[in-house]
């Protein structure tokens, strides 16, 4: 009975239905436009920023009681749609000077360090290396030269051919990068390293990971928290400058769209509330009759809210289609990229529209419950 009443009361006044549905459609269209734009810009900017390389580093936690479990990091990073590259660092001696030699898989490393300026090319095979600009200057090295690294008494020596010189502007300029497994893992025969030089070899091997985490500082913070909770013995730290840049851009987009959404929501509620309140007055006798026939106040309130929510549903569906079409236009003409319809935007648009409708309906309910059936139904 209620469903039939809802449907019939909605189509009974086509002008009112048209007006409220148009308002709600416009609301849903704008919500869809801003939600789609925010989501897509976030997604595309995060993707674009990921192309800039690593924005965080994971290393063994300082006071961790257990050994770091790297598998946990990679699993959590996959969950967070983050890219990662594992790097093993060992200090070796080149011409008697200590040099940090870093072994990594070339593909992931290239993804994390697209900002390196390289003279020559990256190493692609075992036995080749990329030398940091500072090391190359100090030892007078150039692409095509050979580089012999002594590992002290622990591991003998390795020889590499230099394929390129990298310039990063950071500590990587003082390192040598080789393909993973380019560092011997087992103790080999002792080399001719002097005892004085041996003393300059620092500490054991060190392993760390570069990460490119989507979602800026918040994304990194989430991953760090997850790792802390998983007790993997690892700590994630952001590269602040990169993250601040990412965060600032994304926050501005979010803020702008959030403000626009709030304005749309507020204006829709205000506009529709006035319309609904005036509609309640025109239906005062009908509402009074429902009360006279024995409808409880809750029933009347539910009926009016459901009626508006029904309009909200229609408006939400229509508005989503229009809003998606508008968002695609904005994507093409403003951002020069394509925006696709997203289920998240659909959910946001539908929820917002039904909420607007229900809020406006609530304003009508307030007025409806103040009606005096005794006065409105009297014949005198």
């Amino acid at each position: 009975m209620l469903r039939r009443m809802l449907f019939k009361s909605s189509i009974h006044r086509p002008g009112v239905l048209l007006w409220t549905t148009l308002t709600l459609t416009l609301c849903a269209a704008l919500v869809t436009l801003f939600a789609t734009t925010t989501l897509q810009v976030n997604r595309k900017m995060t993707g674009a920023l990921a192309e800039l390389g690593a924005n965080a580093v994971a290393a063994p936690a300082r006071h961790a009681g257990s050994r770091p479990v790297w598998a946990v990091l990679f699993s959590e990073a996959r969950e967070a749609h983050a890219r990662s590259a594992l790097l093993h660092l060992r200090v070796g001696l080149v011409k008697g000077l200590p040099v940090a030699v870093v072994a990594a898989r070339p593909g992931p490393l290239a993804m994390m360090t697209p900002y390196w300026r390289i003279t020559g090319r990256r190493p692609e095979s075992a036995g080749t290396c990329l030398v940091g600009a500072r090391v190359a200057r100090r030892l007078t090295l150039a692409p095509g030269d050979s580089l012999k690294v002594a590992w002290g008494t622990a591991g003998g020596a390795s020889s590499y051919r230099i394929t390129g010189i990298l310039s990063s502007g950071d500590e990587d300029d003082g390192r040598v990068f080789v393909k993973v497994f380019g560092i011997p893992s087992e103790v080999k025969t002792a080399t001719s390293v002097s005892p004085a030089a041996e003393k300059r070899l620092k500490g054991p091997d060190f392993t760390y990971a570069l990460l490119s985490v989507p979602g800026g500082a918040r994304g990194v913070a989430r991953l760090a928290a997850t790792l802390r909770a998983s007790d993997a013995g690892l700590a994630v730290n952001p590269f602040r400058q990169i993250l601040y840049g990412e965060g600032a851009v994304l926050n501005k987009v979010d803020l702008l769209c959030g403000l626009a959404l709030a304005a749309v929501f507020l204006l829709s509620v205000l506009g529709l509330s006035a319309a609904v309140a005036s509609r309640v007055l025109t239906r005062a006798r009908e509402i009074s009759l429902l009360r006279a026939l024995g409808a409880k106040r809750r029933w009347v309130a539910g009926f009016l809210v459901a009626e508006m929510s029904f309009h909200g549903l229609i408006g939400g569906l229509a508005g989503f289609c229009i809003g998606t079409w508008m968002a695609q236009g904005v994507g093409r003409h403003v951002f020069e990229t394509s925006f696709s319809p997203s289920p998240e935007a659909f959910a946001v648009a539908l929820t917002a529209t039904v909420l607007v409708a229900a809020a406006a309906g609530a304003a009508g309910v307030r007025r409806a419950l103040k009606l005096d059936p005794g006065v409105l139904l009297r014949s005198e």
């Binding site: 009975m1 039939r4 009443m5 019939k8 009361s9 026939l293 024995g294 005794g374 006065v375 014949s379």
Partner: protein, 245 residues
């Protein structure tokens, strides 16, 4: 032997903001199965008294006891439940939901009472000779037909009391007759009727006429036209509680 009153109004007054007194210390007892006509000029307080009886309004002073329950102490929802369980309302302006068919208007009252039952609703419409117009909207029905739908709606939940406010006020003579017949049949079934009306003919059909003037009960009259003092109840039943005269 004195029966228990189904309606017992004790010294009920109703004043509106601004000092307008619509009812002034009215007392009325109605027995089960009795047909009472409330008569008087416009503004005499008939509808106000009916609104107190159906619980849509509350007295400023006094008590309105219906089926042993004091309506003035009920909240709006409690009053609504009491109304749908015990009363059928008939209005001068019919007040049918404009977008529901005749059948649906009757089923709506069932819905509030318990559960909509199409078969019962059709029977109720048939009982007022409206079975041929069940799918019509109120705008497609004449005034008399709308009033009969309104009566069917009032009867659908088998109420103990029927309260009618100017039920023939908007009807032509032929439709008036039909309403008279229906009300006569309802009275014959033993239902309690309280009808506010200007219509002398309808008033004459009632077992008792209660006349109101400027919110005060002026006198009562048996259906045969014998005017009695306002303080005297029918068949020897005291109209007012002690001390109200």
């Amino acid at each position: 032997m004195t029966k228990t009153a189904i309606i017992d109004v004790r010294d009920a007054s109703k004043a509106y903001p601004g000092g307008v007194k619509a009812l002034d210390a009215v007392s009325l007892r109605v027995e089960p199965g009795e047909w009472v006509a409330l008569m008087g000029a416009s503004g005499s307080g008939k509808t106000t008294l009916l609104n107190l009886l159906d619980g849509l309004d509350k007295p400023s002073n006094g008590e309105v006891i219906v089926l042993g329950r004091d309506l003035s102490s009920m909240g709006p929802d409690e009053g609504a439940v009491f109304r749908r369980e015990n009363m059928g309302l008939v209005f001068q302006q019919f007040h049918l939901i404009p977008y529901l068919t005749a059948l649906e208007n009757v089923m709506l009252a069932q819905h509030f009472h318990s559960m909509a039952d199409r078969k019962e609703a059709l029977e109720a419409l048939a009982s007022v000779q409206m079975d041929h117009r069940v799918r019509h909207l109120p705008s497609q029905l004449s005034g008399g037909e709308q009033q009969r739908v309104c009566i069917a709606r009032a009867l659908i939940n088998d109420p103990k009391i029927i309260l009618a406010d100017e039920p023939t006020g908007n009807l032509d003579e032929a439709n008036e007759r039909k309403v008279f017949e229906i009300f006569g049949a309802l009275h014959a079934q033993g239902r309690t009727l309280v009808v506010a009306t200007h219509d002398r003919e309808l008033g004459a059909l009632a077992g008792r006429i209660v006349r109101l003037q400027h919110g005060r009960m002026v006198h009562r009259q048996a259906s045969g036209g014998a005017v009695r003092d306002a303080s005297a109840g029918p068949a020897g039943i005291p109209a007012f509680p002690a001390g109200t005269r």
